[in-house]
Amino acid sequence: MSGITCDQIRAATLDPGASPRDWTGLPEAAAHVRRCAACQDWLEAFATGEQAWTSVPAGDFTDQVIARTAGLEAVLRDLPRLADMDPGLGFTERVLRATIMKPSPVGWRAGASGAWRALVRRPRFAWEAAYVATLCWVLVFGNPVGAIEWSRSNIGAVARERLGPPVRELRSDLESWRAALKPEPASARGIPAGAQADPAPPVLRAWQAAAEWVRGAATSAAAAFSTAWERIVEWFARVFGEPSTAPTEPPAGPARSS
């Protein structure tokens, strides 16, 4: 240890009776300055100013040195106090709001879901939805009356296009079904007109009667179904457009009366 302290070096610098160069020649002071970064900075700053001070008139030299070094010392002492300033009330909360309390970004699904829920919760949502729906209808279909006409014709066309093939197929099935159920005339079975066929045994007669009844019931049901279908098609044609004659025409005549 040299026994020289920073304060002694600074005091020596500020001593009006000593030349600034006198004390720096002391071995102890030099050893201290070599080890002390603060004093190195101090002397460096002192040396920087020294060149300017040499131009000061001799009578004012000491005063100038004192003023400048005292000012420098005070500045170096005070500067660290500027390192911490109070940002004022509410600053911490402001920073936390901008960082940790900031809502995290959500996925588009969650965002859309939340937006939809918020929209639905609004009291006027039903009115607004009705308005938007009406607006869309008008934009897409134009004049509402024309749109209804257009819709009728188009829906009828779609119905005919979609229902035509299955109706034709169903009619074909019904006709073949009717043909199969229709009782054969006696001549077709080889029995001459006016001749009485051999009486069948009672069990057979009962069976034939039952078969006849079933045949008649089935024919009646088929006719009723056909009539109902015809009415449905006519209703569709009346409501949605021109009746479709060919594909939806019900099977005709003779089978209906049997």
Binding site: D41, E44, A45, A47, T48, G49, A67, R68, G71, L72, A74, V75, L76, D78, L79, P80, R81, L82, A83, D84, M85, D86, P87, G88, F91, T92, R94, V95, L96, A98, T99, I100
Partner: protein, 191 residues
């Protein structure tokens, strides 16, 4: 636990996403970052905006915070870059050259008595005004080196200038600052 290890612990916890640690971190460094921001803007409200921007940037990058002794220089580098960006964006509204000393809110001074506190506040106001009179690079060197206590290597790294330049400029800047303070004191009849 001293302040440095306390800060290191906070940094580690913040990196791990601890919300409470982030709040404690903000409370611990807000004074320093606000002071640094103030040295750039010279305006209290601008400094608050800038300090908040710095904190938001820090928060967004909290996963990449360096640990240990590298943190503080990195923190100052981020703050300095953000401040330069801020001033560039606000170039149409130049910071005030003179500092309104009345708007500087000082921390409680350890010296007892209202008079001592007033003197200390006045002294700090003078220093701020004198600092504003320095060139931008000299002011940055003085603020980083003498106000915030970074060493010359760190200052050179943050400012991106040679070490020797920092050393020579630091000495000149100090003398210049002292002269400005003396001149301001004389101008106010304190000399």
């Amino acid at each position: 636990m001293d302040a440095t290890s306390d800060l290191s612990t906070l940094v580690e916890r913040c990196r791990a996403g601890d919300a409470l640690a982030w709040e404690a971190f903000v409370r611990q460094v807000q004074g320093r970052l606000f002071a640094l921001a103030y040295s750039y803007t010279g305006h209290r409200e601008d400094a608050r905006d800038l300090a908040q921007e710095i904190f938001v940037r820090l928060y967004e990058a909290r996963g990449q915070w360096p640990s240990g002794g590298e943190f503080l220089p990195w923190l100052f580098r981020v703050a300095r870059n953000r401040s330069v960006d801020y001033l560039r964006r606000r170039s149409v509204r130049r910071p005030a050259v003179t500092v309104d000393e009345a708007e500087i809110v000082e921390l409680p001074d350890p010296a007892p008595g209202a008079e001592a506190q007033a003197i200390a506040a006045d002294r700090r106001g003078l220093l701020h005004t004198a600092l504003r009179g320095l060139s931008a690079i000299n002011r940055e060197i003085v603020v980083l080196r003498d106000v915030h206590g970074l060493d010359v290597k760190q200052v050179a790294s943050i400012l991106g200038i040679p070490l020797g330049t920092v050393k020579s400029r630091a000495s000149r800047a100090r003398v210049e600052l002292a002269e400005r303070v003396l001149a301001l004191s004389r101008g106010r009849g304190d000399a």
